[in-house]
Amino acid sequence: MIELTGIVMAYGQARVLHGVDLALPKGSVTALIGPSGGGKSTLLRCVNLLGIPQAGSLKFAGGQAPELGDIEVVFDGRGRLRRDVILKVRRRTGMIFQAFNLFPHRSAVRNVMEGLTAVLGWEEERARARAIELLTKVGLGGKTEAYPAALSGGQQQRVAIARALAHSPELLLCDEPTSALDPELAAEVVETLRALASEGVTMLIATHDLRLAASVAREVAFLDKGRIVESGNPQDIFARPRQERTRAFVSTLTDFVSESMGI
């Protein structure tokens, strides 16, 4: 179980998150939808401490690696945390990005090995075996030595997924993982994420991709102006939103197709 409580985040005077609560039970897949600038990316970045909130707390409990123990990070507004606290949180989280952010100067397998050898101090051989296992799992067993520039966007994002999973995190954070891809390449990535979801990987996915939100996620949270307006299962949020604001946003995602097709 991963729990965010009362997360407040501001950049200078601009408040981006106004006390967000979110619980991510083990094995759950939550889609975070909402307009750009509504705080989705910021919230994701608070979970692995790429951004440090001004207030609130973050709790990891009962993870699959008991030796890591439970942790609770309480944000005191000073904006600084000890390196070992940050490392504990990052050890439990993996992240993929809209722009993939693969290391361009390293081959696919080296990208996946990087954290294992440089951060966790694994032997080269062991890290390579683990990386090849993960690349095979995301369907790239034949591309291990390719540099990112030689891969399609969908393949790059799948390498990124393998990299994010290398250290066996409890939570996979996905920041608009399909937004930079054409529909076919996006489908590859959706398929990969769906497979991970069915294996029980806990995920938090910020997305505008209906397919991803409706077919992979089992929980949808609508985030607008730094507040979670409504959350529930995908059917309810997309078909029967309770809040007017949710209805307005969801209709921009769904009505377009039916309107333009005249159905």
Partner: protein, 225 residues
């Protein structure tokens, strides 16, 4: 063929002066200057108000005053304060300070050119700031910085001729001495120029090889860019 004999007789002494003084002076000042430049770039980028201001001041002074005047200050001026330096170390200090200022701007630009997404990715897999810098940012920044750094290095090799003015017996000073004795300035300075050209050609060749090496991960389209 009087001039040809002078040229041949002086060729090896000139090359020797180059190898003994021009090359070590260039190489040492470049390496030390690059280190100084890196620290200065870090101070500018991440040093907070105080350090950044110090770095900015240093670059401003060094870039804004002639190198020859700096060399004279160090070699002829500092003795008035009781600091007496031999010619070679004085030149080394002057050139290092100079390289530090120019390369700091190159490195600052190269480091800033790497997208913040690379930092995010490095941090997200648990790297510390120094690890992210060393393993992720610098290898990519190095490719961006190579052409302008090679520019500076080649410029430095030629600028070491200024050390002749503070009595360093480098290549150009040898040429001056022989020219004064033989009254053949055209021949001898042409010869000196040719030897400088030789040295910098080696550097240009090294630059090309380094660029290929640092860019081998790029697609053909990106590599041409």
């Amino acid at each position: 063929m009087h001039w040809l004999k002078i040229m041949l007789d002086s060729f090896w002494p000139f090359v020797a002066a180059g190898l003994l003084f021009t090359v070590p002076l260039s190489f040492l000042s470049f390496v030390l200057g690059l280190g100084l430049g890196f620290l200065t770039a870090l101070a500018r980028l991440y040093g907070g108000k105080g350090l950044s201001a110090v770095a900015r001041f240093y670059v401003w002074v060094i870039r804004g005053t002639p190198l020859l005047v700096q060399l004279f200050l160090i070699f002829y001026g500092l003795p008035n304060l009781g600091i007496v330096l031999d010619a070679f170390p004085a030149a080394l200090i002057g050139f290092t300070l100079n390289m530090g200022a120019y390369t700091s701007e190159i490195l600052r630009a190269a480091i800033s050119s790497i997208s913040t997404g690379q930092w995010d990715a490095a941090f997200s897999i648990g790297m510390s700031w120094p690890q992210a810098m060393r393993r992720t940012i610098l290898p990519q920044a190095a490719r961006v910085a190579t052409p302008p750094l090679a520019n500076s290095f080649i410029g430095l090799v030629k600028d070491t001729s200024l050390a002749a003015a503070i009595t360093v017996p480098e290549l150009f000073q040898s040429a001056q001495r022989v020219a004064a004795a033989t009254y053949e300035p055209l021949v001898l300075y042409s010869e000196a120029a040719l030897i400088y050209l030789m040295f910098s050609s080696v550097l240009s060749a090294l630059q090309s090889r380094l660029e290929v090496r640092l860019g081998r991960h790029l697609s053909p389209l990106e590599a041409r860019r």
